[in-house]
């Protein structure tokens, strides 16, 4: 399983992408990632979020999960991201930073 996080938008609108490959992780870290992805429940999010006039300059997170069978890509604006989704985003960013 590969999980890609793309952060766009924000005041600067500079795109940052991190990719984490579960097969390259230690088994317990890979399991942690699998649980976080499951908890984030990506099936409930749209492919593109609606703009919101009173919330300019916010980040938009796109998370793409790929495995042998399928790929799912969803997009969530940071201020509407529920806690489990935020936890996944934080984990991916922290893991990419090493």
């Amino acid at each position: 399983m590969k999980v890609r996080l793309e952060r766009s938008g924000g005041l600067a609108n500079i795109r940052r992408t991190v990719t984490v490959d579960a097969t390259a992780l230690a088994p317990e870290r890979a399991e942690e990632l699998r649980r976080l992805v499951e908890a984030a429940d990506l099936a409930t999010f749209p492919e593109n979020p609606a703009p919101h006039p009173s919330q300019p300059d916010r980040f938009v997170y796109r998370v793409t999960v790929e495995d042998e069978a399928s790929a799912r890509s969803v997009s969530v604006r940071e201020d509407t991201a529920p806690e489990p989704f935020r936890r996944l985003v934080d984990w991916l960013q922290a893991t990419a930073e090493g």
Binding site: S8, G9, G10, L11, A12, N13, I14, R15, R16, N48, P51, H52, P53, S54, Q55, P56, D57, R58, F59, D79
Partner: protein, 356 residues
């Protein structure tokens, strides 16, 4: 401002139903604990009570004056202490001396410089033109690479230290965020496509004017950069955007190249960034720069007034670039007539960028 211009703004937070009933300490508790909309309404109600106090002061109520009634500038800076809870812990209130935290002081001073531009030059009393308290939060989350207006207050990250430094470092960024608040209360431009790019552009225009006025710079002397000094030394770039030369602000192996177009021939059609609101804003940004430089002198005194009146009285949520061009030209004629060639310069600027 007329009642008509206020009334047509759909995004304007509705009046707090209990505005006259809730005492300030409860309103401040709502500011501390409420959601975005609740906070916006509480801040508005606080502004109303400040106005009433101000009126009492005019009538000579010495007791009210002694109790701390103040003129329209009410800044409070909070510290999120790297968490996500807004507004966080109070770090500095209006009139408090500077503390040790440079981000707190920058947020306080930048909010003040922005208030002063709107107040002293355009005669506007804060974001809502009714003395709305200016609330800022610094140290939001960890390594947070952004600053934003959340509908009720400003929020600033510290940056990750690799690409970005703290976002309060650039006074134009502070002016940019506060102007999103002004736009919310006035033209209320949609945050997508051309209206969204105008929304972004007005924030850059007034952000840059805050910086120019703080530095006492004429249009010719100004750098016309947005967010200069935010990048770390590791990034090849001067700033986030260049109003004078959109597309040239940065070109770096890690973060890529500044994608802004300088004219309509290079308008970027994209679904990203709400239809490129931070990208195509380069076109109206350059129109403002061209007009300001052609007119000369302090940009806030001429072109800035034209753009402010346009934002306040003439644009609607769905206004596009052509509407902005027509409105600024009309506003320039109304404000300056044939004086100083202002209207002519504004028309020529929009023509140069291919909008008219």
């Amino acid at each position: 401002m007329t009642a008509k211009t206020r009334g047509r703004n759909a995004a304007r937070p509705r009046c707090f139903p209990a505005a006259g009933i809730l005492p300030p300490h409860i309103l401040w508790a709502i500011v501390e604990n409420g959601d975005v909309e609740q906070r916006a309404r509480a801040l508005q109600a606080l502004a109303v009570s400040e106005r009433i106090r101000g009126r009492r002061e005019l009538l000579g109520d010495i007791a009210t004056a002694a109790a701390g009634a103040t003129p329209g500038k009410h800044r409070t800076v909070y510290d999120a202490k790297h968490g996500s809870q807004l507004p966080g812990a109070k770090a500095r209130g209006e009139g408090d001396p500077p503390g040790k935290d440079v981000a707190v002081n920058e947020a306080y001073d930048g909010a003040g410089a922005t208030y002063d531009l709107y107040h002293d030059v355009f005669g506007r009393d804060s974001i809502d033109d009714r003395g709305m308290p200016l609330v800022s939060t610094v140290h939001y989350q960890r390594s947070y690479d952004n600053a934003f207006w959340d509908g009720a207050q400003m929020v600033y990250g510290d940056g990750d230290g690799k690409i970005f430094q703290r976002f309060t470092k650039a006074v134009d960024v502070i002016g940019h965020e506060l102007t999103h608040g002004v736009t919310q209360y006035e033209a209320s431009l949609d945050y997508a496509d051309q209206p969204g790019a105008l929304n972004e552009s007005f924030s850059d225009v007034f952000g840059s004017l805050v910086k120019q006025r703080t530095l006492g710079q004429t249009a010719e002397r100004a750098d016309w950069l947005i967010g200069a000094g935010l990048f770390t030394a590791a990034v090849r770039g001067a700033a986030l955007r260049s109003m004078a030369a959109p597309g040239t602000a940065y070109d770096d192996p890690l973060i890529g190249k500044d994608p802004q177009p300088a004219d309509m021939a290079h308008y970027v059609d994209t679904a990203d960034d709400n239809g490129g609101v931070h990208i195509n804003s380069g076109i109206p940004n350059r129109a403002f720069y061209l007009a300001a430089v052609a007119i000369g002198g302090f940009a806030w005194e001429t072109a800035g007034k034209v753009w402010y009146v346009t934002l306040r009285d003439r644009l609607r949520p769905t206004s596009d670039f052509k509407a902005a061009a027509a409105s600024t030209i009309a506003a320039a004629k109304e404000l300056f007539g044939a004086r100083g060639g202002v209207a002519k310069a504004v028309a020529a600027a929009w023509k140069r960028v291919g909008v008219v």
